[in-house]
C-alpha cells in the first residue's frame, strides 16, 4: 500500500464517520426552557442572577422579563453550549442557550417574579413564579437603599434671580458607590443653569438609617416666570464583587486576580421638584431699574473735580455683588448740554460662574463744554433684592466741579482712561481711529483675467519642454544606432536633391551619383552600417529580418543592381523618364522602410 493509498483510506474513513454521525443524529430533542434565580434570599444592594436556559431551539430570542418594581435589571448576557452524547448507541446533540440577567433589589420585601410566558418560535413556554425575599442591610429601615433627591434653595424664586439647585444621592452605607454619577437627562427649558459642582460627601441619618450622601450644586437663573417641574435622570454605578470563579492555580494571588470587582449601572429614582417662579413686581418699580436682580453694591468716582473747561473727567462706575451680573447695565449719567460724553467702556469684568458673584467696572469720559457745567448729576442704580422682595436704589453723587476757563480758549481732544503717565506724552483718552482717505480704486483685489491665469502656464511649459529636450538629447548621445536611424530620412535628402538637379539637367551620370548617395546614406544610417557595409545583400537581409515585405526587398535589390550597372557601365544611356521612374521607385521604397521598426 502506497502513501497515497493510505491517505485516500483515511479520507474515506472520515467521510464515513461524518455520514454515520449525520444518520445517527436523527434530530434535536423537543425545545425546553428552564428558569432560575439565585440566591433567592438576599439583602438590598446585593445582586441576584436570573438564568433562563433554552435547549433544543435554534437561535432563540432573548426573553422579556416581567416588570419588577423595586429591582434594577441589567442584561441579558447570552452564552451558548453544544455537545454530542452517545445514548444507547445513538448519537444525540444537545444545544443550549443561556440568558443571564442581573437583578439588583432596591428595597426590602417579599417579591414574586413571574409566572410569565416566553414565546419560543411557534411555541409558548410557561415559566413558573419564583419567590424572592429581600431584607434590609444590617441596620436598615424601610427606605430604598439607593435614591436621589433634588431640592432648591428657594421655594418660589423670582425671574432672573440666581439661586442654588441641589441634587443629593443617598446610598446605604453597605452599598459601595462608584465615583461616577451621570446626569443622563434634565429638561431645563426656560432656565439658565451652570454646571453642577460636587460639594463633597457626608453621612446622614434618614429614618434611623445611616446613608452616605453625595451632594451637587448648580447655580440656576429662571429666564421666565411660571411653573417648572424638574425631573433629572440620574445613573449611579454600584461596585459589586464579581462572582467567585474557580482559581486555576489554587493560589491566593491568582485567586484575588480572578475575583475582581465590577460595576453595575443603576438608574436612580428621583422625586420631581416643582418650582414656581414669580415675576418681578410692577409695584414700586423705579424708572432707573434696568433688570439687575440680586444684591449689589454700586460705587462711582469722578476724577478730577477741579479742572479747566474742556479737560476730561473720568467717571468710574463699579457694580459688585451676587446676582445676574450678566444682565446688569450701569446707568448713563444724565448730563445736559454742558457736557460732551464719550462712549462708556467696560474696563473690568470679573465674574465667578460658580458663585454668581463678581464685579463689573465701567469708565466714561466727560468733557465740560463751558463754565456752566458746575456739577455732575447723581447716578441711580436700582436692583431688585429677592430676599427683601423689593427694589433697592443706590444713589451716588452729585459731584461738584471747580471749573476754570479753558486753556487757550480751546477744548482738549478726546479723553478716556486719563491715567497719568509718569513720563512721555500724557494719554488723555481712547477712541476709534478716524476715517481713512479714499482708496485709489473703488475695487481692491478685482478678479484676475483669464489671460493672467493662462500666463501662469508659461514657466511650467518652459521647464517641462526643456526637461524633455535635454532627456532626448542625452538619450540620443548614448544610443548612436537610434540617433542614426532618426537621422536617416534627412541624410537621404541630399542624394534626392542631386537626383532632382540631374533630372532637370538631363545628366545621367550625376543622377546615378545622387541615387547612390541616397541609397548608401539612407540605409547606412537606418541600419547603422559602416559606409563599406552598405551593399544590396546586407541591406536586403537586414530589412528582411525586420519584417519588410519580400516584394519591397526585391525592389531594393533591383534598385541597387540598376544603380551599380549605371555606375559601372556609363555608356548605357538613361532617359529622363527612366530617371523619374527610378526616383519614384526609390521614394516608394523609402516610405516602406520608414514604416518598419529596425
Amino acid at each position: 500500500m502506497t502513501l497515497n493509498d493510505k491517505k485516500r483510506n483515511v479520507r474515506l474513513g472520515a467521510l464515513g464517520a461524518i455520514a454515520l454521525l449525520s444518520l445517527a443524529v436523527s434530530g434535536y430533542s423537543q425545545p425546553s426552557v428552564s428558569f432560575d434565580i439565585q440566591p433567592r434570599a438576599l439583602r438590598v444592594g446585593e445582586a441576584a442572577q436570573c438564568t433562563i436556559t433554552v435547549r433544543g431551539a435554534d437561535n432563540p430570542q432573548a426573553p422579556a422579563l416581567p416588570r419588577m418594581d423595586g429591582f434594577q435589571i441589567s442584561g441579558p448576557g447570552r452564552s451558548q453550549q453544544s455537545s454530542f452524547n452517545m445514548v444507547n448507541g445513538r448519537m444525540e446533540a444537545d444545544s443550549s442557550v443561556t440568558f443571564n440577567y442581573s437583578l439588583m433589589p432596591l428595597k426590602p420585601g417579599n417579591f414574586t417574579i413571574g409566572p410569565f410566558e416566553y414565546q419560543l418560535g411557534n411555541q409558548r413556554a410557561q415559566l413558573p413564579a419564583i419567590e424572592l425575599q429581600v431584607v434590609q442591610p444590617e441596620g436598615g429601615g424601610d427606605r430604598e437603599a439607593l435614591y436621589a433627591e433634588i431640592t432648591s434653595a428657594r421655594e418660589k424664586p423670582f425671574v432672573q434671580e440666581v439661586f442654588d439647585l441641589y441634587i443629593s444621592v443617598y446610598a446605604h452605607e453597605s452599598i459601595n458607590l462608584h465615583r461616577e454619577i451621570n446626569l443622563l437627562g434634565f429638561d431645563t427649558a426656560g432656565l439658565d443653569m451652570k454646571g453642577f459642582q460636587e460639594l463633597g460627601q457626608s453621612r446622614e441619618v434618614v429614618d434611623n438609617t445611616i446613608f452616605n450622601v453625595r451632594r451637587f450644586r448648580a447655580k440656576v437663573r429662571a429666564l421666565r416666570s411660571g411653573d417648572f417641574s424638574l425631573n433629572p435622570v440620574l445613573r449611579a454605578h454600584v461596585i459589586v464583587q464579581r462572582e467567585q470563579r474557580r482559581d486555576p492555580f489554587s493560589d491566593p494571588f491568582f485567586g484575588g486576580f480572578f475575583n475582581r470587582q465590577e460595576t453595575r449601572a443603576v438608574d436612580l429614582a428621583v422625586n420631581p421638584l416643582s418650582l414656581q417662579v414669580r415675576p418681578l413686581p410692577d409695584d414700586g418699580k423705579p424708572v432707573s431699574f434696568s433688570g439687575a436682580v440680586g444684591r449689589f453694591d454700586f460705587q462711582v468716582t469722578a476724577q478730577p473735580l477741579k479742572l479747566a473747561v474742556g479737560d476730561p473727567i473720568t467717571l468710574t462706575m463699579s457694580v459688585s455683588g451676587e446676582g445676574n451680573l450678566d444682565g446688569v447695565t450701569v446707568p448713563e449719567p444724565g448730563i445736559g448740554e454742558h457736557f460732551r460724553a464719550y462712549d462708556m467702556k467696560q474696563i473690568s469684568r470679573n465674574l465667578d460662574e460658580n458663585s454668581a458673584a463678581g464685579q463689573l467696572v465701567y469708565e466714561q469720559v466727560l468733557l465740560p463744554q463751558n463754565i456752566n457745567a458746575k456739577e455732575l448729576p447723581a447716578l441711580d442704580f436700582t436692583f431688585f433684592d429677592p430676599q427683601q422682595e423689593k427694589y433697592v436704589t443706590v444713589s451716588r453723587g452729585p459731584f461738584s466741579l471747580e471749573l476754570s476757563p479753558a486753556v487757550n480758549g480751546a477744548s482738549r481732544m478726546v479723553d478716556g482712561a486719563a491715567r497719568a503717565a509718569d513720563s512721555g506724552a500724557k494719554i488723555l483718552g481712547s477712541d476709534i481711529v478716524y476715517l481713512k482717505p479714499a482708496p485709489r480704486a473703488p475695487v481692491r483685489n478685482a478678479p484676475r483675467s483669464r489671460g493672467f491665469w493662462l500666463m501662469q502656464a508659461i514657466p511650467a511649459l518652459c521647464a517641462g519642454g526643456l526637461f524633455l529636450f535635454t532627456r532626448r538629447r542625452r538619450e540620443l548621445n548614448q544610443n548612436i544606432a537610434k540617433a542614426r536611424r532618426i537621422h536617416a530620412p534627412r541624410s537621404a535628402r541630399k542624394g534626392l536633391k542631386i537626383m532632382d538637379d540631374a533630372m532637370r539637367a538631363n545628366d545621367g551620370a550625376r543622377f546615378t551619383e545622387g541615387l547612390w548617395e541616397a541609397l548608401t546614406r539612407y540605409f547606412g544610417n537606418l541600419l547603422n552600417l559602416a559606409p563599406g557595409e552598405v551593399t544590396a545583400d546586407i541591406v536586403v537581409q537586414r530589412l528582411g529580418n525586420c519584417g519588410l515585405p519580400a516584394e519591397s526587398t526585391r525592389e531594393i535589390a533591383d534598385i541597387f543592381r540598376a544603380c551599380e550597372s549605371m555606375r559601372y557601365a556609363p555608356g548605357q544611356g538613361i532617359t529622363t523618364s527612366d530617371m523619374a521612374e527610378m526616383k519614384n521607385r526609390l521614394g516608394r521604397i523609402l516610405k516602406a522602410c520608414e514604416r518598419i521598426k529596425t
Binding site: D192, A441, V443, P447, F467
Partner: protein, 254 residues
C-alpha cells in the same frame, strides 16, 4: 458717419472708468463729510450704497464700520471692520477699532488655532501672490538646474526652500478657503444668548453680546450652530451676519 460713430464709442470706452472713479470719489467724500457733521446714519448709508454698487476696498469698510460704531450699531461696526481686515489683515487701525468696538460691548471671539493665526497674517490675495511668485522662481531654478550641471546642488537647495514656502502658502490659502466654507459671522442683535438646542424654549448656554465674532458650524433651518470662546451653541440665523471669505466687485454683500 460710420467712422464718427466708432470714434464716439471709443471715446466712451476710454472715459467710462474715469467717470466711475469720479462718481466714487464724490460719494466717498460726501460720506466723510456726513461723518464729520456727526450725521452717522447718513454717512453709513452713503458708504453702504458704494458697497452695493460694487465698490469693495478696505477703506470703505473701515469707514463704514466707524459710521456704524458712532451710530451705536456695534455689531454692524465689527462686521465691517472684519470685512476690511480680510483685505488688509495687518492694518493696525482696523485692528485697533475692531478691538475697541468689541471691548466696548464685552464681545467674544472664536478661538483660533495657531495655524489659523499664522494664516490670518496675510490676506487671500497676498497668499496667492506669494504662491505665484514662488512658483515662478521655482520654475527658473528648475530650468537653471537642467542647464547648469556644475551648480546643481545650489539649485536643488533652492528648490527645497521653495517647496517649503509653497507648503506654507498652501496652508494659508486653505485657511481662507475654509473661511469660505465655514464662514465667520458677527452677532448683530444685542442681548443674544446661545442655546443648547435649536429650539425656541431651549436652555440658554452662554451670552453673545453684539459684535461677537463667531464661527458658524452647522445650520438647522433658521438656526445656526456657532462657536465662540471655546463654547458651542445655537442662535437664530437672522441674529448675525456672515463675513465672506473675500469680497469682489461682482459679489453682493447681503
Amino acid at each position: 458717419m460710420k467712422a464718427a460713430k466708432h470714434i464716439l464709442i471709443l471715446l466712451l470706452a476710454l472715459t467710462a472708468p474715469g467717470i466711475l472713479r469720479a462718481d466714487f470719489a464724490d460719494a466717498f467724500q460726501r460720506a466723510a463729510q456726513a461723518y464729520d457733521a456727526e450725521q452717522y446714519k447718513e454717512s453709513a448709508d452713503l458708504y453702504e450704497s458704494l458697497v452695493n454698487e460694487g465698490a469693495a476696498a478696505p477703506e470703505i469698510f473701515f469707514n463704514l464700520g466707524n459710521a456704524r460704531f458712532k451710530n451705536g450699531e456695534i455689531g454692524l461696526a465689527v462686521l465691517n471692520y472684519r470685512r476690511a481686515q480680510y483685505f488688509t489683515p495687518r492694518d493696525p487701525d482696523i485692528r485697533a477699532n475692531m478691538d475697541y468696538a468689541m471691548g466696548r460691548n464685552g464681545a467674544v471671539r472664536w478661538r483660533k488655532t495657531t495655524i489659523a493665526q499664522f494664516s490670518g497674517r496675510l490676506s487671500l490675495r497676498e497668499w496667492t501672490n506669494a504662491l505665484l511668485l514662488i512658483y515662478w522662481l521655482a520654475a527658473v531654478a528648475a530650468i537653471l538646474w537642467m542647464l547648469d550641471a556644475a551648480r546643481r546642488p545650489v539649485y536643488l537647495r533652492l528648490l527645497i526652500v521653495f517647496a517649503v514656502l509653497a507648503v506654507a502658502c498652501i496652508t494659508g490659502l486653505r485657511h481662507w478657503k475654509s473661511l469660505q466654507k465655514i464662514p465667520e459671522a458677527v452677532v448683530i442683535n444685542d442681548g443674544l444668548s446661545a442655546f443648547f438646542a435649536p429650539i425656541e424654549n431651549s436652555t440658554a448656554h452662554f451670552s453673545l453680546p453684539a459684535g461677537s465674532l463667531v464661527r458658524t458650524r452647522e445650520q438647522d433651518g433658521h438656526w445656526l450652530k456657532v462657536e465662540a470662546d471655546g463654547k458651542e451653541g445655537w442662535i437664530p440665523a437672522d441674529a448675525c451676519r456672515k463675513v465672506y471669505a473675500w469680497l469682489t466687485a461682482d459679489m453682493a454683500l447681503e
